[in-house]
């Protein structure tokens, strides 16, 4: 049973429940609205409505799973960084479960804080930027399936969104726009510099990233996650495309703005970069979403290079996928806490002079492999 069927059963049951009400109301008030209630009940039971509601429920389930994962990620990051730094990390809040509840406590703290909109900001952009940032990041997750049975699919057969990988990367690339918007509209010199840095940085890593993804498409011959993962049945793409995998990890690190590449929010130089003027839950959204993007990056690396949900059948596919995504995330966070930040001209050098040729080389290797018929 896949997620669509599961959701479909629930929705059909719910629609039946509600339709009983409609038809009962129609019986009860026949003199004016009887026809209307019957019509509404019929509409609710129609195939189109049930399909739409099912997809919405699927999205809800996927998002809840994603948010729980994000909480795990934040906890894991704090705990891991604490041990790297020779202290305990979260400890007291949720003592029995290793301080897991600290995230909830922090979220509540941010939630009750006052949301200040500074006087001279460009109000529309200032309010819109977090919305774009958060929604585009959630959009990535909507397309990433945890297994062939667990993802947002559109029919009973469990077919996912066509060209889901392309969609995920398109959604991934929206965020710098919202960062630029936030930086510009905050009316602050630091946020402005942060926003501009984000735009410059995007130029440098987005192209190698997509070139590497293109090589994956070349080998798998498919744009959807299921196709890409199925193509890795024999060997993970990380092995033939090792160079590409490294380039991909570096670009993902830049995409989710972890330390060697967190120029837009460089804490020591630009105070907090483009998030300087945000406070309360708006800042909380940024904070949570950056980890959400870390999760998305880990999931993409898993699906594209590490064989996705494939693994020995001892544990379910979904768990395999999450374990791999967590491992990628841990490596990225480990790097984050170990190295200094690069400079803005150095990241451009790195992107154009190092990553770009490597990505091209990787594409050539992929083409050669494909031509020789090994994939």
């Amino acid at each position: 049973m896949n997620l669509y069927e599961f959701c479909n059963i629930i929705i059909v049951w719910l629609v039946d429940l509600v339709n009983n009400l409609w038809y009962w109301l129609g019986d009860f008030l026949p003199w004016v609205f009887g026809d209307f209630f019957t019509w509404a009940g019929d509409l609710a039971a129609s195939d189109g409505h049930i399909a739409a509601m099912t997809i919405l429920l699927e999205v809800l389930v996927v998002l809840i799973v994603a948010i729980v994962n994000v909480l795990n990620f934040i906890w894991l990051d704090r705990k891991l960084s604490g041990r790297i730094f020779d202290f305990y990390g979260p400890y007291y809040v949720g003592y029995r479960i290793g301080g897991w509840l600290q995230n909830i406590a922090d979220g509540m703290k941010l939630f009750v804080k006052e949301i200040i909109t500074p006087k001279d900001v460009d109000r529309l952009g200032f309010v819109l930027a977090p919305v774009i940032f958060v929604s585009s990041s959630f959009l990535i997750l909507a397309t990433i399936p945890l297994s062939p049975n667990f993802g947002v699919s559109t029919n009973m057969d469990g077919d996912f969104v066509a060209a889901g990988v392309l969609f995920a990367f398109a959604a991934f690339a929206i965020a710098p726009f919202s960062i630029l918007l936030a930086g510009w509209s905050s009316n602050n010199k630091y946020t402005l510099i942060g926003g501009m840095r984000s735009a410059a940085q995007m130029m440098s890593y987005e192209i190698p990233l997509l070139l590497v993804v293109a090589s994956v498409f070349l080998l798998s011959g498919d744009f959807s996650f299921v196709g890409v993962v199925d193509a890795q049945h024999d060997v993970w793409f990380a092995i033939p495309l090792f160079i590409g995998f490294i380039v991909f990890l570096v670009c993902i690190a830049a995409e989710v703005e972890v330390t060697p590449f967190d120029l837009p929010e460089a804490e020591a130089e630009l105070v907090e970069g483009w998030t300087t003027e945000y406070c309360g839950m708006r800042f909380g959204f940024f904070m949570m979403t950056s980890y959400l993007r870390g999760y998305a990056g880990g999931a993409l690396a898993t699906a594209l290079f590490l064989g996705g949900w494939q693994g020995p059948a001892l544990i379910p596919d979904e768990i395999w996928f999450l374990i791999k995504a967590y491992c990628v995330f841990v490596v990225i966070e480990w790097m984050r806490w170990s190295v200094p930040r690069v400079r803005v001209d150095q990241i451009l050098n790195l992107g154009w002079k190092r990553l770009m040729p490597l990505a091209m080389l990787n594409l050539v290797i992929a083409a050669a492999l494909k031509t020789m018929g090994w994939f």
Binding site: W334, S338, V339
Partner: protein, 304 residues
């Protein structure tokens, strides 16, 4: 790193070498041992004895000289008059922890080591008034005995001038030749003056004293040069206020023979008195100077 290799780090140096180093620390604090943190409210560090925390005062050892008040750089101590059932009317210092620097000068200058600083450091309070600790708040009579003294002690002869007859036996017995007999103006006696810097604490002077005026007592060595009172005999009226004010029993009121007034009935009255200072015992608090109304005591560096 040699000059030639400057700036040249291997390819792994981008992230792998620092990551290996932090990974070692991760293993060290996760697998091999525990993190370095002290979980504060539950575990506490062992602080050394010399730690300077909250003050504590031994009422029985304190003589109320107020040297701690004088030396405090921030003026955060004061003397408070108290009525103690055991000790009677006394003056003891209190401290305002809200202004305290925790420099420890008060404990260092205390001539009897009555004032100490404990290792207690959790001193947070709700308002400024709660930091003002009076003498009774910092009283802890047993504290001084509870740990080893940091400051060095030595036994020196102390003179009780009221018993001294000026027989000069002690001066003859002293192996270091540090006792000099000084004649006291208009008293007609001599008193031994002991050079404590040369004293070797053998106690021969105290053993030989027929009146038991010299006794060996242990005093704490002080490295602070305190102001010493200078006496002007001509101005002294013999009122004895300084002797009553002195916390260290330095000042003795001695009669001056030959100054008796002849009363109307022909008898002679009591002779006039003058103050005599036994400066070896002086702690330099300046209280005699402050109470003297006739400007018979001068103390450079101390304001009234």
């Amino acid at each position: 790193m040699a000059e030639a290799e400057r700036g040249k780090v291997s390819f792994f140096g981008y992230v792998l070498r620092p990551m290996m180093r932090t990974g070692k620390q991760l293993v060290r604090s996760l697998v091999l041992g525990k993190p370095n943190t002290v979980l504060y409210p539950h575990q506490k560090l062992v602080l050394p004895q010399v730690y300077r925390g909250k003050h504590t005062l031994d009422f029985k050892k304190c003589i109320g000289c107020g040297n701690c008040v004088t030396i405090c750089p921030n003026d955060c101590m004061w003397l408070e008059k108290l009525e103690d059932p055991e000790l009677g009317k006394i003056e003891r210092p209190g401290v305002d922890l809200g202004r305290c620097l925790f420099c420890g000068f008060c404990a260092e200058v205390c001539p009897t080591c009555a004032l100490h600083m404990t290792t207690e450091f959790e001193l947070a309070g709700g308002d400024r008034e709660s930091f003002k600790l009076g003498p009774k708040d910092i009283r802890d009579d047993g504290f001084a005995g509870s740990f080893k003294e940091e400051r060095t002690k030595r036994a020196v002869p102390t003179l009780d001038l009221s018993k001294c007859t000026g027989c000069e036996k002690c001066a003859g017995e002293c192996p270091e030749m540090c006792i000099a007999m000084i004649s006291m103006d208009k008293v007609g006696r001599k008193k031994p003056e002991i050079n404590l810097a040369k004293c070797s604490s053998q106690g021969k002077c105290a053993a030989v004293c027929p009146e038991k005026a010299l006794t060996m007592t242990e005093v704490y060595e002080s490295y602070f040069e305190m102001p010493q009172p200078k006496f002007v005999l001509e101005s002294c009226s013999g009122c004895g206020a300084c002797a009553r004010a002195c916390p260290a029993e330095v000042i003795y009121m001695l009669e001056m023979p030959g100054t008796e007034k002849t009363l109307k009935d022909g008898k002679k009255g009591k002779p006039k008195k003058r103050a005599v200072f036994v400066l070896e015992k002086c702690v330099g608090c300046g209280r005699c100077f402050k109470v003297c109304k006739f400007e018979a005591i001068e103390m450079p560096g101390v304001s009234k």
